[in-house]
């Protein structure tokens, strides 16, 4: 029985909205959890179909983990997890090149990371939709929104997929434009608030240095990020 949080994390990963920690957690959990791995495979399949790409059951998880760790990507053989993705036959022709371009083209995690650097946080949905059952979270909109532009170019002939993608693009384009200055101001304010909370917390409990370490380490983390 998969817990709700893991479900949410998996949806976030598929949507390209997961932060690095979340990605690592899902991928680690996936190694031990068959149900989670199968769901991940189904989500990938749906994404491939929507992007008009050949359906594949190549497991992206290893490549993602390596990307996070900054290691060179291994060759990821096609059909690696064919046994768990019974719905659609694996395409044995899937090559490393295909994997790479697929990863870059979908680019969801990369885009999300880039945005997180700017904002220091990721966009969030209201809990009403966030707590919906996992499969509902894989609606076409959230699936394709982060990759709407490249996806449109690669859209399949399937009319239903095309309609879904057009809807997704419309939803992306109708989002309010937020200028960078205001985003930075918002980021700085959140930073100040986290500092204030940690400092207040450090002085209001009996754990001594623990919250203070949090204050100073949080600052260090921010500094490091600003320098990158």
């Amino acid at each position: 029985m998969m817990n709700d949080r893991m479900n949410e994390s998996l949806s976030a990963l598929v949507d390209g909205e997961a932060d690095e920690l979340e990605i690592r957690r899902v991928l680690n959990q996936m190694e031990q959890d068959d149900e989670l791995r199968q769901r991940w495979n189904r989500y990938q399949l749906i994404g491939s179909v929507l992007r008009g790409e050949p359906a594949t059951t190549v497991d992206l998880s290893k490549g993602i983990m390596q990307a996070l760790d900054g290691e060179p990507m291994d060759e990821v053989p096609g059909g690696l997890n064919a046994s768990t993705g019974g719905e659609v036959a694996a395409t044995e022709s899937t090559s490393t090149g295909r994997f790479r371009s697929g990863w870059v083209a979908s680019g969801a995690v990369a885009a999300s990371v880039a945005f997180a650097v700017l904002l220091g946080a990721r966009f969030m949905e209201a809990p009403e939709s966030g707590t919906a059952p996992a499969i509902a979270a894989v609606d076409t909109q959230s699936m394709t929104a982060p990759v709407a532009q490249p996806a449109v170019q690669a859209v399949s002939a399937d009319p239903s997929a095309r309609v879904a993608l057009e809807a997704a693009v419309a939803s992306v384009q109708s989002e309010p434009v937020v200028d960078e200055t205001r985003l930075r101001e918002a980021q700085q304010r959140l930073h100040d608030y986290v500092m204030q909370h940690n400092q207040q917390s450090a002085m209001n409990n009996g754990r001594g240095l623990l919250p203070f370490a949090r204050v100073t380490s949080y600052e260090q983390g921010q500094t490091g990020e600003a320098q990158r």
Binding site: D192, Q199, Q200, N204, G206, S217, G224
Partner: protein
């Protein structure tokens, strides 16, 4: 000097002990010493009263930092110095209620001015920690920083908050390692001494500051009791056992802190100019943050929730915030 932060433990742990104090002689039975509540009480004292010098690591899955720490209590005054050994150079020195931070002495001071570091503290209405957490202790075969330890587990009664596994020095009860864990027992944050000397003697001048950074002004005292306790912006839902611990107001911004005796979160509310910004959330180790926006009387308010609670809890609290007329 009574430090307000002790209240979290004091309300539960010290008060019953103080009542029982006349019955307790110098010879405390071994069993009583190993009772988890008593261990936590000793831990709280040790952090404040022991003289120690050590190196500790602190972090989560994303990043780790190394800090050196020295601490002593002399003539009833605490001396504490924390130096970063990784990342940008940084040092914090505290003598009693005066705090200095280099190389940015203004930064902490500014934040202190805003929040009132020694504010009202955790008040006596704070529910007992026991109602929200189950405590257990066991001797551990492990050692931390080369010292034998005893382990105390602080297990939440519900999944809406984190638990903590604490390892205390067997002799002095100094906290040597703390793991903040989620409901799957995944460690979301760890604090651990790599090396520590306890009972050290410090030379005069070891807590001295550089020439360019005088100790700041004494931290502000608690505001008068007649001060307002909130601005009308309050969460409609709180995890069981959390209650308001403090309130500060600075201009248009307000900060409300809630605690269950162990974990704490703060609610910040401030009006923003222009259109609403996107709602966001982020997590660093055990700290979750949620930002959302609400409109009221033509003004957009930014609702920010920051605290050591799981993200799902932080979101649920943040989404329940409403403004109530008084």
């Amino acid at each position: 000097m009574i430090r307000s932060w002790l209240f979290g433990w004091l309300t539960l742990l010290v008060l019953p002990t103080a009542i029982a104090a006349p019955l307790v002689t110098a010879e405390i039975p071994q069993q009583a010493q190993d009772e988890p509540g008593q261990l936590l009480e000793r831990m709280s004292q040790a952090i404040r009263e022991e003289a120690y010098r050590g190196v500790l690591v602190f972090g989560n899955n994303q990043e780790w930092h190394t800090l050196s720490i020295q601490h002593q209590m002399k003539d009833g005054v605490e001396y504490e110095k924390v130096t970063h050994l990784t990342g940008a150079p940084r040092q914090m020195t505290r003598i009693g209620n005066r705090v200095s931070m280099t190389p940015h002495p203004d930064q902490l001071q500014a934040a202190v001015r805003k929040t009132g570091l020694l504010g009202p503290g955790l008040d006596e209405r704070l529910p007992m920690m026991n109602q929200n957490y189950h405590l257990s202790s066991r001797s551990s075969p492990m050692q931390i920083a080369g010292r034998p330890v005893v382990e105390v587990q602080v297990i939440p009664q519900s999944a809406d908050r984190y638990g903590q596994n604490l390892w205390l020095d067997r002799d002095t009860a100094l906290l040597l390692r703390a793991d903040v864990v989620d409901d799957q027992q995944n460690v979301v944050e760890r604090y651990q001494f790599a090396e520590v000397d306890i009972g050290v003697e410090f030379q005069p001048g070891e807590f001295a500051l550089g020439d360019d950074s005088g100790l700041g002004e004494p931290l502000p005292e608690a505001p008068p009791e007649s001060a307002p306790t909130d601005t009308g912006w309050l969460p409609d839902w709180l995890p069981s056992g959390f209650s308001q611990a403090s309130f500060q107001q600075q201009g248009d911004s307000s900060m409300l802190m809630f605690s269950d005796g162990l974990a704490a979160f703060s609610l910040f509310v401030d009006p923003i100019q222009g259109d609403a910004m996107p709602d966001i959330s982020n997590r660093w180790g055990a700290t979750s943050a949620v930002v959302r926006h609400l409109s009221r009387d033509g003004t957009t308010y930014r609702i920010t929730l920051v605290g050591e609670v799981p993200m799902a809890t932080a979101k649920r609290i943040a989404w329940s915030v409403v403004h109530r007329e008084k």
